[in-house]
Assembly symmetry: D3
Homo-oligomer: 322 residues x 6
């Protein structure tokens, strides 16, 4: 453990604004790198937004997330976890998408994650729009359906858009259930809100046993209670975590394509990730950060702060298991 | 009810970024349109800010509110109300102001609303600065003084500015009380805060029986309790609702001309509007959205989200009464 | 001629910031409108950018172009042409694309333009990315190949991207030549510049007889001389005009996805359009305006100013022919 | 001359970002200041835009002009003039307008300038919208009509707006001619362009003998030739200079309310002011800088750079005369 | 008391956007001004950020704080205090730093504050980065160590950066303790959070007896309870207040160089300052406002609102003592 | 030559927005990399701005330059040069500065460049403020004074600032001449303009034989003639090229700290670099790009486009020499 090669550069040595920006200033270890096999948690960018039906931009997410991630230091201020000492972390680079072909892009993404999973690396993804989660789940859940803790203002459970278009950022988890990648009984969706087309998505959730916790319930019960239920729903079996930045109130995270007014603040945005402690995470993503709608980078900074919280939970569990 | 002509375009059919933007993607039904007489709730823009003594901009409000309103879907996520099926809604267009003549502009506005009221249409306005409410009230309260629920950080009850200027966005409700348009005993002002010139406005409120709930009291009691009192104050008689976007904390609503630090967040911004349920609303406005101070459109999106909440309350009551 | 119905609203009557924004404040005449058949020049939005391989955004172009077009008055300051009195102009609305399906979107666009062409309306389009021109040409050139004056910094003549993807905003005119929509001998491309992948596109142009005028030649000869040659190349036969906003220097038009440094300024941007006078224009487009990269709207304002110049040329010719 | 009291603070002593920002870091000498009588050229702010019929904002101009003016050093780089050593310059402060009353504001402005003129001070104004020039001229031309060199993209010679509104930023010079403040035979307007309502303004100019040099002529002849004619037109009699920042191309000066595409660049923006050398300037203004439309301050920096060029011409003449 | 000379200009007389902007529209009374000796509380700008190891910008803070401070009125809306009537307040101007020499700048700052302290003026500073507090404390604590209430997300207690650099914005209070300017037993740091390098700073705090209240404890206990403890820690002996704007959540205060996600909102930002009531304040600062990272000015407006709250506490105590 | 390792990633394979951003998508070859010795031209970032006396920001330059450099393709559109095939190019990473210690930073920079020069690599730098050129020259000119072509609006030849501060971004070339790093007879400065403190810098230039070409002369003669003289001045002996982005007009390059109005446009910005063809370049830099003042990245894109032009000249010469 604590191999110097896998340590991030400290802002005490090299100012944060300096250097080629990798995720959290970790070494860049592409799949063809000599030390790829030693990575335990891999940070991956999926710069892709072709599933977006509204305002595009998340294809630019990974670059800005990397840029802002140079503000992250080595230790979790709240829990004291030092993830980079606990496990070997690295930036595995970006998956190269085909912005003009959705099926080709999904094939490319799944192929990349197949390599990652095959190497025994836990993937932590910076998206990309929410359709990205589907090709990732095809690799992560190859050996059987997984549970999911899903933070979002939308269910992303719709059947289709525009008279029969099946693959958009509003349909990934409908497809994932249909494809047997998710066990709907072990799926919980937290923070759902905003105006609705109709109840087609919620009817599907109900029929399949997916638990939806709308924002009104979330605020009434508080994050601790809600997350206790979430941990109970997914139990100790393998679980994926999918965190759409639009779970957070758009004032705290304006850089996203389909904002919904009236969500949690930034403190809670971190807190719910921290409360994943104990979940058996086999992969996680943070999606829908759209830099063109937040040039200040505040959304990306919040996004990487959330990624760091998830990383700490994953690293702690991995180190304990190891 | 539920006439197809009066249904908004769905984002499932036409992407939200497409199409000429009307309020909430409703049909544009100007007063000379054949179906004007069938409208039950009319959304109206008042692009006017000549009463602004500080930073101008609300004249650009209606256009940006319309633009962002294409993000609103057909169903209220929290209450399940589907207003466009309950009553006939339409975009009645903008009142044309004279930006270089305050009295002429007020006459134009009142004349437009006279038509609307005469047609039995409930007006829901997107402003415009707060002086807009005065010429609207001259039409709405033509047959007698109305009550008012007023969300704001300022009382807008001042006597005059700059040595005797009587018509500014800081004086509309002083004038409305003087003109007998408002029944001060049935007026409640919620969220008042910020540094003050003096107590001239509050002294007037006290003398007239207007109830002021300052922000400290609001936070101490919470929105549910405060709104229960507000509903009691206005009772079941005709009531106008005037919602200044600067009621909300300027971080959530930066696009406004006279922000005051330390207000409610966006969840509560919607919640208080939802808690108007039961009030006999004869007209409502959302004013002081100033696009030049929020190019991201976040303020306008919050603004139309609030308008949608008010619309749902109005539609539900109208349908129930109908 | 000069039917009051087809006249734009004047800023002397209704301030420019007021009213539901249609193109140049013209009436909104969708294909199902009673007076659709009387339109002579139709302004159409194509809010679509799925062919974009780099930075997306032009799907938001039509809305911002309409917004800024309210700054356009009735008379050309340089030529004195008053197009709205010369011919019946109208805003025909947007073509509804499918943002998650390229082929479906192209079919929708061609179908819309088939209606327009069938009605004898000259289409003037506000895009959209440059792939939009292909489905438009499929309608415009249905009866035989047309010539083209093409303002751009790129040739858009590539064979394919990403290992065989044939439909992107870098390939429309390669496809159009292959499909027999363009007569390459009557195509001229003006302003080509920037770093290059290789010479594959230019080799194709050379082989087919397409005339490329690179920016160095453009500056050396000046706009008048260059446009004289352009007019000679296309002659009097039917000609399409395709104007990519990235023809203009990115300082004057920052709101675009693939800028190239060192182009013409805004005066010349208008001048070259004005110098189309005499060309037999059967359709024109202004594409690649990307609002997320220019929140000030300056690019869109330049874009609609160029559209107005093209409109004046088209209207003058139409009136003369009529 | 060269009284230390009237010298600006040097950026070599106090960094430019430091200090309370006055115009060009000159002393603040309000009319009640002991040394007011010694001022020879007074820089004055008119933070007022109530005459604006389109996008407001110039009321914020003086503050941003002052802010950016701290970038101005003591010597003209092109001509070598050191104005602050040649004459006593000072910042006289702002005229306090009444943003909700046009007539009252004009009276306040004229009263302020009456004091300035009475003290023998040459006024150099930072506006404010263009209506500001009218009340200034009422003071400056009290003893008889003056000539005017007018840089602008609009003539500002309209009769009225909105059915009879006489005082807007589109009418000041029509009023000034009618009131005998300007001698139309000695007025030249340079840079006129953009789409036009009609020819009502130009017909008036023609009838009165005002010389209009449209942008096409300006570019064809070049600034030197055009300015030679301008100097000849105004001759050696007292002349006012009115410089609307929208004379400059909106890419170079985006911070303005009514931009017109296709104007001069920034080098020429300075050059034409420099070529006023020899004109008998009795007052000058730089108007229509609108900070809300250019948060970067580039427009204001160009604006104060133009003011500095005008100041150098005025100071050189004053010193020579003195 | 209540000398007219020391009263701020009212927005009812001169609109807030008008006039040369001093802090809160107070008179500008530099140390060489005739009435300097009568000032009781002095507002001072320290436009300096050479101690910044990350993103610079606070050197621009004082100018933007002054600009936004024109929005502050004369009376505290929550407490009713009217500070400008209670004591003589003035803007003492900026300390001129040397941006290219840290030691020289610190000497200049201390020299300026020595004058202020010698004149018996309580200094209220608008920074500047946090290193500014060190040279200020050298003047304020000249006669003995003071206590400190410190609002921040960082401890600023590090030993050094970059292999031995002792003076940065991360080290001022380590130096201040070492130099005997602060009594560590009477120092409380509130709001500490974010990722950490290591625990070197916290170990120092522990060893010296500095009380750190991390953000989790702050939220668990609430501002009233936390501030009660803070008042107890500092007691009635002389106390300095240092308020780093990054104490506040970066969504509410984006304009700062080293933001940390998950802090207090704007209401609490004011509330904690108000709860200083009773502390024996001998000086206060508001630092790290960085305008380049918040062009809207929202951060500066919050900053001056906090300064006004601190001013009210200081003025009330001063008046009571006087 | 044309080693695949040293080829940049093509946008035809991996979209430009994807991947960890190195300069021009070249391999990242730090000095400890196995293939460092094979590099022929090294692109280096110097993220440092401690010499800035006005508005800071260039410390963020290298990161944004790298980001935008992913828009650069493999071939020069104007000259046809393919530099990456001609010589081995690589991104050598950033020099780590000490933002709080100027002397330490200069020592670090010189030490880094000593390594580069020792390895026979031609350095092409992205700054950083202009003081960066001094420590670079200390390495580049180790074996004797070099000539210099210097594009700038300022001479940067001042003796000192703030009473004796010798190292700022206004003094590097005064120091370089004094230290014998530059041969003043072989130095030419092009584009000098803007207001001036005095003539101290120009007097020094005159005395030493440095040739200054002010902007008025530049525009009068044109870039070709000016550059012919420049090439003659530096001759065939070793020459450094220093390109301050503020040479370009601030409208084209707003992202800089000390802009001066009225400079060359973007076409000429590239053209003058292209006209360096034939100069014996031993190192080059592009400095003063300040991202906080141009969030759109347009300035950085222009900056890397200029760097690419210089790279092509350097690569062509190197290949010819090799």
């Amino acid at each position: 453990m604590s191999d110097p090669f896998f340590q991030p550069v400290s802002g005490m040595d090299l100012p944060r604004f300096a250097g080629v920006p990798t995720f959290m200033r970790l070494p860049h270890v592409a799949p063809d790198h000599a030390r790829f096999g030693e990575v335990q948690i891999g940070l991956i960018g999926v710069p892709w937004d072709s599933g977006t039906t509204n305002r595009p931009g998340p294809r630019h997410g990974p670059r800005q997330l990397r840029d802002l991630s140079t503000m992250i230091r080595a230790q979790n201020g709240a829990t004291g976890v030092r993830p980079f000492e606990a496990v070997n972390c690295a930036d595995l680079g970006d998956v190269g998408p085909n912005p003009a072909d959705i099926q080709d892009s999904m094939a490319r993404i799944t192929a990349f994650y197949d390599q990652v999973i095959a190497a025994g690396i836990l993937p932590l993804t910076g998206g990309g729009d929410h359709l990205s989660s589907l090709p990732i789940l095809r690799a992560v859940a190859k050996s059987g359906p997984v549970g999911m803790v899903h933070f979002d203002s939308h269910t992303d459970l719709f059947h289709s858009y525009f008279d029969g278009t099946m693959y958009t950022h509003g349909t990934p988890f409908r497809r994932a259930v249909e494809e047997g990648l998710l066990d709907p009984k072990r799926v919980v969706q937290i923070g759902i809100r905003g105006t609705a087309y109709d109840t087609e998505d919620r009817d599907f959730a109900k029929a399949e046993g997916i638990r939806i916790i709308p924002i009104e319930e979330y605020f009434a019960r508080g994050p601790e209670d809600v997350m206790a239920e979430a941990r109970e729903i997914v139990g100790t079996a393998p679980t994926y975590v999918s965190y759409d930045i639009d779970f957070v109130d758009p004032t705290f995270a304006p850089g996203t394509g389909t904002p919904e007014v009236g969500g949690p603040n930034s403190f809670e945005a971190l807190q719910v990730a921290r409360l994943l402690d104990g979940v058996n995470i086999v992969g996680a993503d943070l999606v829908e950060v759209s830099p063109p709608f937040d040039q200040s980078g505040g959304t990306a900074f919040l996004g990487v702060s959330i990624m760091f919280e998830m990383l700490c939970v994953m690293a702690k569990a991995h180190a304990a298991a190891g």
